[in-house]
């Protein structure tokens, strides 16, 4: 198991290394992407991550609060849990179809960052719900009882006691959601990511109603459609994407281990 992972990472990075220069990260692509850098794709990926996070994090956390703190043990709760499991199992391309039907055409957002982010948000919701649920369940019941006893309402207990004590677990879920969003290709290529969208100047290249580029889509495009691209260019893009995702994930793991080691109860 360790061998394929190491092999993949080392091989891709080694092959892409000659193209991994400063200019590669900061310049616009030129001549259909076969020259120049990946700057707009980086910015586009960050846009998608941040916007979808703003949507899915609050809904996901509140949904987990509902399941853990409010819901009773009955058939309805079972259905809610079942829906979460199945939402996680829906193929990514079907999420893309849904985004296209609901946001791009249904709500008339057009193919845009907004539509793509909404699609990603719904897709990654189960990730946040699952890790938040776990974090909430780890807070001992006695904490809540103590708080109720001094006359706090249910929400006050959650806000002042339960959430602060589980914030680290919730953050781990958020980090995992970021890595998932960064790598997703199929749903965004249907709903708002283009193969070519340079955008404006400066740091804020795009507005919400425009299409953007993304790292994952750029890798797909360069490898399968752009003819004449040097081999190391596609390896460099793959190495960048892989680097981002693995670093984000590794930080979630380190964070989790650190938190476990200083847990007080």
């Amino acid at each position: 198991m360790v061998v394929p992972l190491l092999f993949i990472v080392v091989y891709i990075v080694a092959k892409g290394a000659p193209a991994l220069t400063w200019e590669f990260f900061t310049e616009n692509p030129r001549r259909g992407g076969i020259e120049g850098g990946i700057w707009p794709a980086l910015v586009g990926t960050v846009y998608l991550i941040l916007i979808s996070l703003c949507i899915s994090a609050p809904i996901g956390v509140l949904a987990a609060v509902y399941i853990e703190e409010y819901a009773k043990e009955n058939w309805f709760t079972r259905i809610v849990n079942l829906a979460v499991v199945n939402l996680a199992g829906v193929p990514s391309i079907v999420h893309g179809l849904f985004g296209l039907g609901a946001f791009v055409y249904g709500m008339q957002f057009g193919k845009s960052i907004l539509a793509a982010s909404l699609t990603l948000a719904i897709m990654t919701l189960p990730v946040i719900i699952a890790s938040t649920k776990e974090a909430l369940a780890a807070v001992p019941r006695s904490f809540r009882e103590a708080c109720w006893n001094v006359g706090a309402t249910r929400w006050q207990t959650i806000w002042h006691i339960v959430l602060p004590n589980s914030i680290s677990g919730i953050l781990t879920g958020v980090i995992l959601q970021v890595s998932r969003t960064a790598g997703e290709t199929a749903p965004v290529m249907l709903t708002g990511v283009a193969t070519w969208a340079i955008g404006g100047d400066g740091l804020f290249l795009y507005n919400l109603r425009e299409q953007c580029m993304s790292l994952s889509m750029h890798l797909f495009y360069i490898r399968t459609q752009a003819s004449g691209a040097k081999e190391e260019l596609s390896y460099a893009i793959a190495a960048t994407l892989l680097g981002v995702v693995l670093l984000v994930n590794a930080s979630a793991i380190v964070f989790r281990i650190y938190l476990r080691s200083r847990k007080k109860w």
Partner: protein
């Protein structure tokens, strides 16, 4: 709480406000709670709605079993049978590789591993699961493809075998983590009883633990199957993408998911082709829904015991 300082009385107006806020926030929480249900139904509804106008013209037999997928010829033919066979065959081949590997790894991690290497292994598996599917597809095209071409001396490196290997690697992590949970759930008394009867470690694993955890292991396999069926980018890039019934494992195939990804861009909104692609989406949704539901019920079954 032995300390019983009386709570200072709040002004009535502020109390009412607090009560209102509490009600509001509770409503918000309840809404979020049911959001998952809303989204699952929403997904089905919107995907179905886009595809539905074609239903009256749909010849179900041709759609499911026909093997002529010529969406751009005139008259266009939409026999998704070859695509269905593509999806199922590549999934099956992936499972032939992944099931022994994944369940073996689960048994190793849960029964034969010391604590330290186990933690490391679990982290590696987690990282393996995090690699995006487009990167897997890239690996299939750039690394695995040429290797397969060389080793097996076949004309095309991107084929069913290539994609199946990728899918196997992609679905092993979920099998390991669910399978390990299942084995962990077997009470230690089972292990002790087997050892006390003089069983070797292997006998314990295969005669006692695997039968005891078989539902969980089955769920692990099913979740792997669900993942393999729904995978898009990796199979789009590594299967060779050709809608024919494969004759050997080194033939190119085309899957349901890859078809949608590759063709939706060129299908005009509302056209026949567009609607048929959405119907394929409905088919995929149904397939994975059934697989995941079964896996979930199998897991629930164990917990109740």
């Amino acid at each position: 709480m032995t300390d019983s300082t009386p709570r200072p009385k709040l002004p009535a107006a502020r109390r009412r406000l607090e009560l209102l806020a509490e009600k509001g926030i509770e409503l918000l929480i309840r809404l979020s709670g049911i959001s998952a249900i809303v989204f699952v139904f929403g997904i089905f509804f919107f995907v179905f709605r886009e595809g539905a106008p074609y239903l009256p013209h749909l010849d179900a037999r041709e759609f499911l079993f026909g093997t002529d997928w010529y969406p751009s010829s005139d008259p266009a033919q939409y026999g998704a049978g070859a695509l269905l066979v593509g999806t199922l065959s590549v999934t099956l081949l992936a499972m032939v590789v992944a099931v022994p590997f994944g369940l073996g790894a689960a048994i190793y991690v849960s029964e034969f591993c010391e604590r330290r290497p186990r933690e490391t292994l679990k982290i590696v598996i987690e990282l393996l699961a995090a690699i995006p599917s487009v990167v897997w597809g890239f690996i299939g095209m750039s690394v695995l493809g040429p290797m397969i071409k060389e080793v097996f001396d076949v004309p095309l490196g991107v084929n069913m075998f290539n994609a199946a290997l990728l899918l196997a690697l992609m679905s092993v992590p979920i099998m390991v983590s669910i399978g390990e949970d299942a084995l962990k759930a077997v009470p230690d008394t089972y292990r002790e009883a087997a050892l006390a009867l003089g069983a070797t470690r292997w006998q314990t694993v295969f005669r006692v633990l695997v039968p005891a955890a078989k539902n969980g292991l089955l769920a692990a396999v099913l979740l792997g199957v669900g993942r393999a069926i729904g995978e898009t980018m990796a199979v789009l890039m590594a299967t060779g993408h050709s809608a024919r019934i494969p004759e050997s494992i080194f033939d190119p195939v085309q899957t349901l998911t890859a078809t949608i990804a590759a063709e939706l861009g060129e299908a005009r909104q509302g056209s026949e082709h567009y609607q048929v692609l959405f119907l394929i989406g409905v088919l995929l949704f149904t397939l994975t829904f059934v697989v995941n539901l079964t896996a979930d019920m199998v897991v629930k079954g164990i917990r109740r015991k």
